[in-house]
Structure formats: C-alpha cells, structure tokens
C-alpha cells in the first residue's frame, strides 16, 4: 500500500505543475501577461485587483510578493515588468535604474497591545511614548507618563515587552519613520530602514509572528498593518496626532491623513507620516510601483499601466474592503501624466490613454 500510494502521490505532484502551466498558457493565449515582484504589504490588494481586473482588461497579472528589496533588484535587472516597494527610492536610485516611481495605494499601521483589562482602542499613547518604549526607556505599563494620559484606566505593574518585525520589511520602515519623525533620540540612535537595530524587545517573523508574540506575552506591544489588526481582531490603541488630538485607527482618520499630504515630492514619494489635520491618523504610508522609463517591450509596459489605470478607476472599493486607502483622484491624474511624459520606447510615449 505504502509504495503504491507514494507512487500515486509523486505522480500527482509531478503532474501538477504541468497542469498549472497548461492552464496558464491558455490564459496567456487569450490575453496579455505582465509580471511584477516586490512588496509584501500591498500583496493582498494587488492580487484582488489582478483577479477582478482580468475580465475587464484581459491582462493576467502575476505578482510575486518577495519583499521590497528583492522587487527592487528584479526591476533593476529587468526580470519583471514592474517592481513594488514600500519604501520610496531616492531620486538618485531612480535615475540610476532609469525607473519611474508612483504610488499605488496607501496603508496604515497600528500599535497592538496585550495588557490585562485593556480593551480595543482604549489605551492612549503618543509617538514620543512609543519611541521611548522601543528605546527601552519606559519599561512598565504603570509608568507615570503613560498613566497621566490614561486617567480612568487601571494600568497594571507589568513589564513592557516590545515586539518588532525581525524580517526586513516595509512595515518596519514605516514604523521607524514615524518614531524618527517624533523622537530626535530615535532618529539619532537607531534611524530609518527596512530593518534596524532595535535597542530592546524581541523580533518575530511577519505580521503573524508579531501578532502571535503580542498575543502570547502579557504586557507586549507590537505594530502591524491595520488590515491585519482588523481581520484578526487585535487590541489596538489611540494615538495622538500632530494637532494634539487623540484619534482612533479608523478609515476616516486614514483618509484625512492622505488628504493633507504633499504629493509633489520628487519621485511622488509623499510622506504621510505624522501629518497635520485634526482627524489625521499619524502612521499612514503609500506603497510604490517602479516602472522602467525605457521599456524593452512597450506592449508589456503599456499593459502594466493599463492594469493600474483600471485599478485606479475601479479598484477603490476593493482596496477599502481590504482596509487599504485608495489614492485621491488628483494624485491618480498626476500619475497618468507622469506615464505619458516619462515612459518612452524608441522615443515614443508608451502611454497615450
């Protein structure tokens, strides 16, 4: 029985890729294919867009969420049609790779905590407190500086256990960007990057790892993407924004932050961190697409733009269902203008929509 079932299994696994490929080729015969690779954070919405847009555009999108760094490498080597990165590239990097960068969608981060007796969206924190917690300067939940903000809550005498993403990730980039923006000490001692040297705490792999660590450890605090916190019903906190108001992590607060951002930055690398506005959630960030300015295959490059054009026109609701924040209309128009002006094959603009 053993050997036979083994044979059957190995036969099946051997055949599976072939079956998959056959189905794939069929799809390709009907429509065009484009490939992309990079950031893991927007992966759910890209997959959703790809699935929903296939019928309308006839374009099959094959997106691999391999991490921003790997995505940048792949688009620099032109092994994919578009790259995706959570952290914006600098103008120098863009020039070097001859790449056009534009935002595709926005997301937000929320702190998650595990303190006995504290419910969702109850605890009030500030950016300075978060920075000091992650610097290891505040070590107990009943620290007077936390208690002072939270009159009416009974905070236990419990050690704070900060948890962070151990794998290099855009999530960490956004989180430490925020801590750097609000704490000069963080900026000087730790800095900003997709992975940094955290002075204290424990690292876990992926959103699920951080969430799991926070669930396991009483007194833990961590950070995850809002979408992840909502689908897993994690305990989030309020944060004080730049205007001095405490805001809850809601869609309205995220949209308010996006509305206040300056989108004219070079490389369209708008920073939505710690934005002005009474209702703004302080940790919102766009994620970016990288497109070669000199595509070797104009058709594929045009299909990438077609796909994102479709997503901008029809994908807002899908994005919101997944707790992402769609780009404002004006920004989408700026992106189309950039396509027209900057992406050229043989001197001809690739995009003329």
């Amino acid at each position: 029985m053993n050997r036979r079932s083994l044979l059957i299994v190995s036969g099946l696994t051997g055949a599976a890729p072939l079956l998959g490929r056959a189905a794939f080729a069929q799809g390709g015969a009907q429509g065009a294919q484009i490939t992309g690779a990079g950031a893991t954070f927007p992966n759910p919405v890209y997959q959703k867009w790809a699935e929903a847009g296939k019928a309308a555009t006839g374009i099959t999108v094959n997106y691999q969420s391999v991490g921003s760094g790997a995505g940048i490498n792949q688009i620099k080597n032109r092994t994919v049609d578009f790259g995706a990165s959570d952290a914006p590239l600098t103008v120098a990097q863009l020039t070097e790779g001859n790449l056009l960068q534009f935002p595709s969608v926005m997301g937000s981060l929320v702190p998650i905590v595990n303190i006995p007796g504290i419910e969702n969206e109850q605890l009030k924190l500030t950016g300075e407190l978060l920075a000091d917690i992650y610097l290891g300067k505040i070590t107990k939940w009943n620290d007077p500086r936390i208690a002072e903000l939270n009159n009416g809550l009974t905070l236990p005498n419990l050690a704070i256990a900060p948890a962070y993403r151990a794998d290099g990730s855009g999530t960490t980039f956004v989180w430490v960007s925020y801590l750097s923006a609000v704490s000069p000490e963080w900026k000087e001692k730790v800095g900003v990057g997709t992975s940094v040297r955290f002075p204290t705490g424990t690292g876990a792999r992926g959103n699920e790892g951080v969430a799991g660590t926070v669930k396991n450890i009483r007194g833990a605090i961590g950070y995850v993407e809002n979408a992840y916190a909502i689908t897993n019903k994690l305990v989030t906190t309020q944060l004080r924004n730049k205007a001095g108001h405490f805001v809850k992590p809601t869609q309205e607060a995220f949209i308010a932050a996006a509305a206040n951002a300056d989108w004219t930055a070079p490389g369209m690398a708008a920073s939505l961190i710690d934005q002005h506005g009474a209702a703004s959630w302080p940790i919102v960030s766009p994620t970016f697409i990288l497109l070669p300015k000199n595509p070797t295959d104009a058709e594929r490059s045009r299909n990438v733009m077609k796909f994102f054009d479709w997503a901008f026109r029809n994908g807002d609701k899908l994005a919101q269902e997944l707790e992402y924040i769609p780009l404002p209309r004006a920004v989408q128009d700026t992106i189309r203008a950039a396509w027209r002006a900057e992406v050229r094959a043989n001197g001809q603009p690739v995009w003329n929509g």
Binding site: S68, D167, R197, T202, G203
Partner: protein
C-alpha cells in the same frame, strides 16, 4: 523463473564485451555525476566567499566577533549570530544526547523484540517532519507554555541561585535561546538516536554475553562493555546532530526572538547565522554591503558545518567501513 535467473547471471560477461561503447558512456556518466557533486560543493564555497569578500574587506577579521549589526549605518558583524548558532546547537546537544541515549538503550537492550521496530521507526519519522512544522508548533504551543509555566518556575527557583542564577533571569518571553535549543533538540534527536542504536547493535553479542555471564546487570553491561566499545562512533553520531543543529533555519527563526544582542540569560532573544540570513535576505539589494555581509555569514556557517561534519565522518569511519 529460475531459468531466467540463471540466464541473466550467465549473460553479463558476454554482453559487456559486445557493448564497450555503452560501458564507456555509462562510466563517463558516473564520473560526471561524481564530479558534479564536487564541482557544486566547490562552486558554492567559492561563490559564497567571493560574495562575502566586500564585507570581509570592509570589516576585516573583527567581522567574526563584532556584535554590531546596524543596517541603517551599514555596520555589520557576525559575533552575535555566531554566538547564537553555537550556543543553541550546543544546548540542543546537551538536551538531546541523554534522551537519545535512553531511546537507543531502550531499543537495543530493554524493549521486547516486537516493540523495537515500531518505536525505532517512530523515532526515525521525527526526522521526516518538515522544520517549518516544528517552527509553528514551537511558536504557537511551546513558546506560550514556556512563557506561562516553565520560565516563571525556572526564574523563581534556579534564578535565585548565585552563579548560574544569571542564566535564568529576565522576563519570560517564551521565545529565546532556551526555547530554540529545545526545539532543535527535538529535531536532532532522531539522528543521534538512530546512530546510537545502530552502533549499539554492532557490539558482538559474545562480549555482552560474557559480561552477563560474570553477573553484570544490564546497566553495568551498557556502561562497561557497550559504551566503551562504541565510544567513538557515539561521539560521531553526536557530531552529526550538531552539524544539523548548526544549519537549522526555519524552526529556529520562529522561536529564537531574533534580536541582535548577546544576553546573559538563556531566556533572552538572540539569533543564529541561518535565521539572520533567512530574515534579511529579501530586503537586501544587490551589490549592497548588507548582502555581502549575509553571504559572508553563509560562508562562515558553511565552514563551521563542514568542520563539524568532517569530524563526524572521521569519528564514524570505522562504522562506515563496516
């Protein structure tokens, strides 16, 4: 049936003379297969070394013990990872060897014959469990168990002792060096146990029977006859487990806590070479110093594992020949 068998036995010499070309092709293919392995091994070492060269150049020999790992300012050192790799592997051996010895002792001397095969197979099946499963199991089951029960108990008892107490202090995170070592111990247990069982079985029965005839107990036979006879092979089996523990990636990544710090306590988070490479690889750009540092780490791990496995082969050589 029997006719066919005799025929096939008789035919080879004749066939060999006739198809010299086929033989040559076959021999060539076998040589090529053998050479391919050597080429691959050499190629990987050279590639890792060349890839890591910029990091070795930038940081020099202190790369090996520097505990800095700061991707933002691009300062890298392998100290913490090497420390974590060796400490978790050695602790895992400390946990696994007594249990493996117990398993092997039980299977060769104590267990009734009908039990030996099923139990032996079960132990070997432990080796077939994919390491990601151990990782998830460790993270979702063992780590909370450690955080809520084992570590608080250890902190309250052993943590109070002078001297070794410092090893058992600090907040009970659940994850950390100790948990990683425990998971590793379970993962390498089948390798050590299987080797021990095999070498125990090779002790000539006449030795053991003589000892029993002199009135020795089972334990005395084990201690006075079996262990001295197989001492070197047992050490080789342990080295085999050590080699595996050094390179284990996924399971360790889940439970070690992944912090680039050397903590005095066993409950503190740390990292290993394999876990750092696995976690950081996706976010390191081509030609960056970080990628080079990761490749250099890979090279160091390769050399470490190579030494340990070579030692294991050397110690096991008598058994391998037999």
């Amino acid at each position: 049936m029997s006719q066919a068998a005799t025929l096939s036995i008789a035919s080879p010499p004749r066939a060999a003379r006739r198809s010299n070309l086929g033989d040559m092709i076959f021999a060539g293919a076998c040589y090529a297969a053998g050479a391919l392995v050597l080429l691959l091994l050499g190629g990987i070492i050279v590639e890792l070394f060349l890839g890591g060269l910029p990091a070795f150049r930038a940081f020099g020999l202190p790369f090996l013990w520097s505990t800095e790992w700061d991707p933002v300012t691009e300062v890298f050192g392998a100290g913490v990872s090497i420390y974590g790799t060796i400490v978790t592997a050695v602790l895992a051996i400390l946990f696994a060897v007594p249990v493996a010895f117990g398993v092997a002792f039980f299977l060769t001397e104590l267990a009734p014959p009908w039990m030996r095969r099923p139990v032996g197979t079960a132990v070997e099946l432990l080796a077939a469990v994919p390491s990601i499963i151990y990782g998830m199991w460790g993270f979702f089951l063992i780590a909370p168990l450690m955080a809520q029960h084992v570590q608080p108990a250890l902190i309250d008892s052993l943590g109070e002792l002078p001297g070794i107490g410092v090893l058992f202090q600090g907040p009970p995170f659940g994850t950390g060096i100790l948990t990683a070592a425990l998971i590793l111990a379970i993962m390498i247990l089948p390798f050590i146990a299987a080797t021990m069982r095999d070498v125990f079985e090779q002790v000539p029965p006449v030795f053991k029977e003589s000892a029993y005839g002199l009135g020795c107990t089972t334990w005395e036979v084990m201690k006075g006859v079996v262990l001295p006879y197989t001492r070197i092979s047992v050490a080789g089996g342990i080295m085999l487990g050590l080699g595996r523990a050094l390179g284990e990636t996924m399971a360790v990544t889940f439970v070690i806590g992944n912090a680039n710090r050397i903590s005095t306590t066993l409950f503190g988070p740390g990292n290993t070479i394999a876990s750092v490479v696995a976690l950081e690889f996706g976010e390191s750009e081509t030609d960056s110093l970080k990628l080079s540092a990761l490749l250099a780490l890979g090279f160091i791990l390769f050399v470490l594992s190579f030494i340990v496995l070579a030692a294991s082969r050397y110690l096991l050589r008598s058994r391998l020949k037999a």
